[in-house]
């Protein structure tokens, strides 16, 4: 069988995103990265949340699960534990991952299952027509913050570093090559990878635009001597650059959750014969006598 190309991951469904939305590039980068790491469409399970970006599971030719708002990660972790042979990618927006789902995001990072989480971060609520997000900057004016946001923006990468994530990366949707390479590295990383992608909303965010990001982002590859295995340096660099850096910020070699669970089968649970050994069952019954 010939290896897959990114075209195999296309399903010819026209996304309902606005023209110019950053999410188109993320869609394309996931398709390219999946082909580049040698996956076939059947190997990939893409679990997404709710919001504009959450629709992505319907726009890629792979197994797709579009769940509930903020719960892409619990669903994705359930899929991974059931079939560890699948490549599991979770995807959603900043509202999904950093507002309603922040609890799951932090615990998924602590847990460190071998899945890749891509956040399409546009710093605003798009599908509900332009309310503030936990990623909105201080002073950001929206329909829900007419006088400007008075809450601090949540720093995803710093949060990831503090939560024990073993692969922490940030990217920008127009930098499709870098984004694709980052997603490839995330998929290949053994453990939980979080990739925050600045994916501008052309309709509701007139502040954090493509031009704004081009002006303000620093590539880690341009920082001399940056060592992405050094957590302290990663944190300092993020703080020095107001979190506006792209590239692999931090990577750590730590066994994935599923490799540390006592007794957990190396064969996917989904392929197991379910019938219990009668002798084993008798011993269980005997324990209650």
């Amino acid at each position: 069988m010939s290896p897959s190309t990114f075209k195999d991951f296309r399903n010819n469904v026209k996304p309902n995103w606005c023209p110019g939305c950053g999410d188109f590039s993320v869609q394309s980068a996931i398709q390219r990265a999946a082909a580049n790491v040698g996956l076939t469409p059947e190997d990939l399970a893409l679990v997404s949340g709710i919001g504009c970006s959450g629709r992505i599971s319907g726009y890629i030719n792979s197994y797709g699960f579009h769940g509930t708002h903020g719960r892409a990660l619990p669903i994705a972790q359930g899929v991974k534990m059931a079939n560890r042979d699948l490549t599991v990618v979770a995807a959603g927006g900043d509202g999904d991952g950093f507002a309603i789902g922040i609890g799951h995001t932090i615990h998924a990072m602590r847990r460190n299952m071998d899945i890749t989480y891509i956040v399409m971060d546009n710093q605003v609520y798009g599908l509900t027509k332009g309310q503030t997000s936990p990623r909105s900057d201080d002073g950001f004016v929206t329909s829900s913050t007419p006088d400007g946001s008075i809450e601090q923006a949540l720093p995803p990468m710093e949060t990831a570093l503090m939560s024990g994530a073993t692969f922490v990366a940030q990217s920008f949707s127009t930098e499709i090559k870098e984004l694709t390479a980052t997603i490839e590295a995330g998929i290949q990383h053994k453990g939980f990878s979080i990739i925050n992608v600045f994916s501008p909303c052309v309709t509701y965010n007139k502040v954090n635009t493509y031009d704004w990001f081009k002006e303000n982002l620093t590539k880690l590859s341009d920082i001399e001597g940056y060592d992405n295995t050094n957590r302290t340096q990663a944190m300092t660099t993020l703080m020095e650059h107001n979190s506006l850096v792209t590239g692999i910020i931090y990577q750590e070699d730590r066994p994935a959750y599923e490799d540390m669970v006592k007794g957990y089968d190396e064969k996917p649970l989904a392929h197991q014969d379910l019938a219990l050994d009668p002798d084993y069952f008798e011993s269980l019954v005997g324990e209650f006598m």
């Binding site: 619990p74 609890g103 209650f288």
Partner: protein, 587 residues
């Protein structure tokens, strides 16, 4: 000679009440007696009165009783709180250390036995529970030897010396009590049991074992009283079969993770109580909409809100049936004994797989935590049916067409493939979707998909094993008693008392709550002059469901109890009498 005695041990939480009850019960179980235990405990770890009441009988028992024969008291509070349950001929065995006083209106005899002093003589004060069990044996006129094997199991790894000391403490308690009783009439001597080997377990153990027998490999869960025992059991056992329990960050994650695992083909369950189920409702709706098999156990406890976390109640019924927005196919099962809990738990996974929908396995605190004697489970009675899961899918000509995961079929159930299957790619979404799982708002499609989902359960009731457990000796009855979950035994006992007075009573216990087995219940309602629905809640939730489905509103009455305690047979008897005499009930 007695065929049944009721024994209770009481004291401060954390001072060994649990272990005293456990050792006594396991010993009696091994002798072949039938037991039914119920613990009163508080939502705290140390301190506060706690007691463990056990009915010991030569016949099967399935209810807590209001009566009491032997009270073992480790403090005065235990006497003060419980003595009223004792009748003439009852015995209080109390630790002499706290200088126990028998209340003036107590009908029982008090025997002060130096539990602590005897325990210290043979080892440490901790052994006072052994002294108490020894003293109990003297009252029952039975030998203490049955406890040797149990003490060996508990203390064996601490050395023979430890085993010996505990045995001596028990013997000493036995002899002290025997002397104290003197030549009193042997009114509390217990008839011999049949010596058969049976299991002794809580309902939660039965549910967990049923899940294991059904091939469960994953349990994401969040701790909560009174459900935690299920996860604790599976934490120990799932690694034996390659699976695991994951303690999640909350119940939303637990339920969502279980959905993810089931979608990917693994039988995965979660278990919680009211507060957790409230949090899971959105996810349960997702399982309904995406037609993902899912089993959720709800061990009901006192609500609302945090309510009475350690007390009996049956007030989640309406939430379990209706508690998700929109219309979904859902099954709510309600086993009533540990035996049923095992087989129903196993069957719930077949139903979830065959009908591709969420199944709520409803329990209540009394069923989940009451330790009871059960006939050994039979694995050959458990079959595993996965429903319409395809191992292979043919290649489609149209490369852009997805596998029709939501194909409109006659029975509403569509073929299912697991992620990873070649040519099986499809989309799954909580949005309304077409046959391939792609989101669409088209009106005709909406109608087709909704009707497809809802008709899946059309034949469920007729296929369901014994949806209403009926004990109906009378073709025409004066009274039909109806209940669900743990009230089964208490209703049966009340019914037997009513029979003695010539009252024709039938009993229908609802085992399938939703979809409601209307046709199965209706003949018994038709044949009854009055119907009394017995339930542990304040609003008569089951009675309302029966009225809604069966009608005949005028003769359906409620007997409600929501003070945190289980129903006693005596109360149901009284309630029945009141209804029959006054045609209404005000208890």
């Amino acid at each position: 000679m007695r065929e049944e005695i009721i024994w209770k041990v009481g004291g401060q939480q954390g001072e060994g009440i649990e272990s005293t009850g456990e050792i006594f019960s396991v010993g009696m179980n091994r002798l072949g007696y039938h037991l039914y235990g119920y613990r009163h405990f508080s939502s705290r770890i140390k301190g506060g009165h706690t007691n463990n009441k056990v009915r010991v009988s030569t016949e099967k028992v399935n209810a807590v009783s209001e009566e009491l024969d032997i009270l073992v008291a480790f403090d005065q509070e235990s006497i003060d709180v419980n003595y009223h349950e004792l009748s003439e001929g009852g015995v209080i065995i109390a630790d002499a250390k706290f200088k126990p006083e028998n209340p003036a209106d107590s009908k029982a005899d008090l025997h002060a036995v130096p539990f602590t002093e005897i325990a210290k003589e043979h080892g440490t004060a901790l052994m006072k529970n052994m002294v108490a069990i020894g003293a109990t044996c003297a009252v029952l006129r039975m030998e203490v030897e049955v406890f040797t094997s149990i003490i060996q199991e508990i203390f064996g790894r601490k050395g023979e010396d430890m085993v010996e000391k505990n045995m001596q403490a028990m013997q000493a308690g036995f002899h002290y009590m025997k002397d104290s009783l003197g030549n009193e009439e042997e009114s509390l001597s217990l008839a011999a049991a049949d010596g058969e080997k049976r299991m002794y377990m809580i309902g939660n153990d039965a549910i967990a074992l049923g899940a294991l027998a059904a091939g469960v490999r994953m349990m994401p869960a969040y701790p909560i009283t009174p459900a935690s025992d299920i996860m604790e059991y599976l934490i120990k056992k799932l690694p034996d079969v390659g699976g695991t329990v994951i303690q999640t960050e909350d119940e939303i994650a637990a339920c969502s993770m279980a959905i993810g695992s089931n979608y990917a083909g693994v039988r995965s369950l979660t278990a919680s109580a009211g507060p957790g189920l409230s949090l899971m409702m959105e996810a349960i709706g997702l399982a309904g909409m995406t037609e993902t098999p899912l089993v959720v156990v709800d061990t009901q406890r006192g609500g609302p809100s945090t309510g009475l976390p350690t007390k009996q109640e049956q007030s989640d019924l309406m939430q379990m049936i209706y508690g998700t927005h929109g219309d979904i196919p859902k099954v709510v099962m309600a086993p009533s004994t540990a035996d049923e809990a095992f087989y129903d738990a196993a069957e719930s996974f077949n139903i979830a797989d065959e009908y591709q929908c969420p199944v709520i396995l409803l329990s209540d605190l009394q069923l989940s935590l009451s330790k009871q004697t059960v006939e050994p489970f039979d694995l050959t009675q458990v079959d595993i049916r996965r429903g319409k899961v395809l191992d292979e899918v043919k290649e489609r000509e149209d490369k852009n067409a997805y596998f029709k995961r939501y194909q409109v079929t006659e029975d509403g159930i569509s073929p299912r493939v697991l992620p990873g299957t070649k040519n099986g790619i499809h989309h799954v979404t909580g949005l309304e979707h077409n046959e391939e799982g792609r989101p669409t708002e088209a009106t005709q499609n909406r109608k087709d998909q909704m009707e497809k989902r809802m008709r899946k359960l059309d034949r469920l009731v007729e296929r369901f094993p014994n949806p209403v457990a009926v004990n109906a000796p009378h073709e025409e009855s004066d009274l039909l008693l109806v209940g669900f979950n743990a009230t089964r035994g208490a209703i049966e006992e009340a019914m037997a008392e009513l029979e003695k007075e010539g009252i024709k009573a039938n009993h229908a216990h609802i085992r399938l709550i939703h979809p409601f087995p209307t046709e199965q219940l209706k003949p018994y309602v038709d044949a009854a002059k009055q119907v009394l629905v017995v339930e542990n809640n304040a609003t008569g939730q089951l009675a309302n469901i029966i009225k809604m489905n069966v009608g005949q509103i005028d003769k359906i009455h409620s007997h409600l109890k929501f003070d945190g305690d289980p129903f006693y047979p005596e109360e149901i008897y009284q309630g029945s009498k009141e209804l029959l005499e006054h045609e209404s009930i005000h208890i």
